[in-house]
């Protein structure tokens, strides 16, 4: 039972950090209050997901969307969170897109100056061609021979 109770929890270090950041210096929060806050955030997560699950099932979807979460927050009268969260999502998306493009660029930029990509590409192509040829050699000879024999015998 103890392990189950521990599972429904968040690390206190994170909770402490958030509390510290949102309060002016010098304020003390009792241990009991911190524990209660941790449990409250756990319940908040559980409740918001269950509410948004309802919205998702109403729309006959099985996966939780961002829109479901926003609707749930509206339902919980926490509209004030929504604009900030939307901003966060957009910045996250754009940063991801930047990451992807930058990683692609970096790959190209790493390869271009040395002229390596062309060589490596050629090598790859050559290898593939060799493989194809070898495959052809192995596959064609017996097949053609057998087929030829069969054909010649039949016709």
């Amino acid at each position: 039972m103890a392990s189950k109770a521990e599972e429904f929890s968040l690390p206190m270090a994170c909770i402490n950090r958030i509390i510290k950041e949102s309060l002016p210096d010098g304020t003390i929060v009792s241990k009991e209050a911190k524990l209660a806050l941790m449990k409250a955030t756990c319940v908040f997560i559980l409740y918001s997901t269950s509410v948004s699950n309802e919205f998702a099932s109403k729309a006959h979807r099985r996966t939780l969307n961002a829109e479901d979460m926003f609707q749930a927050l509206e339902d919980m009268e926490l509209n004030e969170f929504i604009p900030d969260l939307r901003e966060m999502l957009e910045t996250n998306k754009s940063s991801k897109a930047k990451k992807q493009t930058s990683s692609r660029k970096s790959k190209y930029s790493e390869m271009d100056p040395d002229g390596d990509p062309i060589e490596s590409g050629e090598v790859e192509v050559m290898e593939v061609e060799e493989r194809l040829q070898s495959d052809d050699i192995f596959s064609e000879e017996p097949v053609s021979g057998a087929m030829g024999m069969d054909n010649s015998q039949k016709f």
């Binding site: 949102s22 806050l37 319940v43 997901t49 999502l89």
Partner: protein, 114 residues
């Protein structure tokens, strides 16, 4: 707040995403959870925590003590209708004598409460 963490893209959230995901999956009728929903849940949980603690601080500031006690938290949670869903998470502390009185009252009028 988040400005200190803006440089590191993966550590934008203070709460561990894996824990939040576990909590979300243990909610009733768990389905699949999109990454966006997960991000929103973690961030909103953070904002929720900040909101509660700042409210409690503002309320407790009027009394001169600088310490936020459990009783301050429970009072502000029970006063605000937005936190109705927290229900029995943070009940107000009651003396044993008062608890006895409340229990006796509830025993006297069980039909009315129902």
């Amino acid at each position: 707040m988040a400005s200190s963490n803006q440089g590191t893209t993966d550590k934008n959230t203070n709460l561990p995403i894996s824990k939040v995901k576990f909590l979300m999956k243990s909610a009733p009728n768990p389905g699949a959870i999109s990454n966006e929903a997960l991000l929103i849940a973690t961030h909103s949980a953070e904002m929720f925590l900040e909101k509660i603690i700042t409210e409690v601080y503002e309320k407790s500031d009027k009394s001169k003590s600088k310490k936020i006690t459990y009783q301050d938290l429970a009072r502000s949670i029970n006063e605000n209708e937005v936190y109705e869903f927290l229900g029995d998470i943070a009940p107000l502390k009651v003396n044993a004598i008062e608890a006895k009185e409340i229990y006796a009252r509830s025993q006297e009028t069980p039909e009315q409460t129902d």
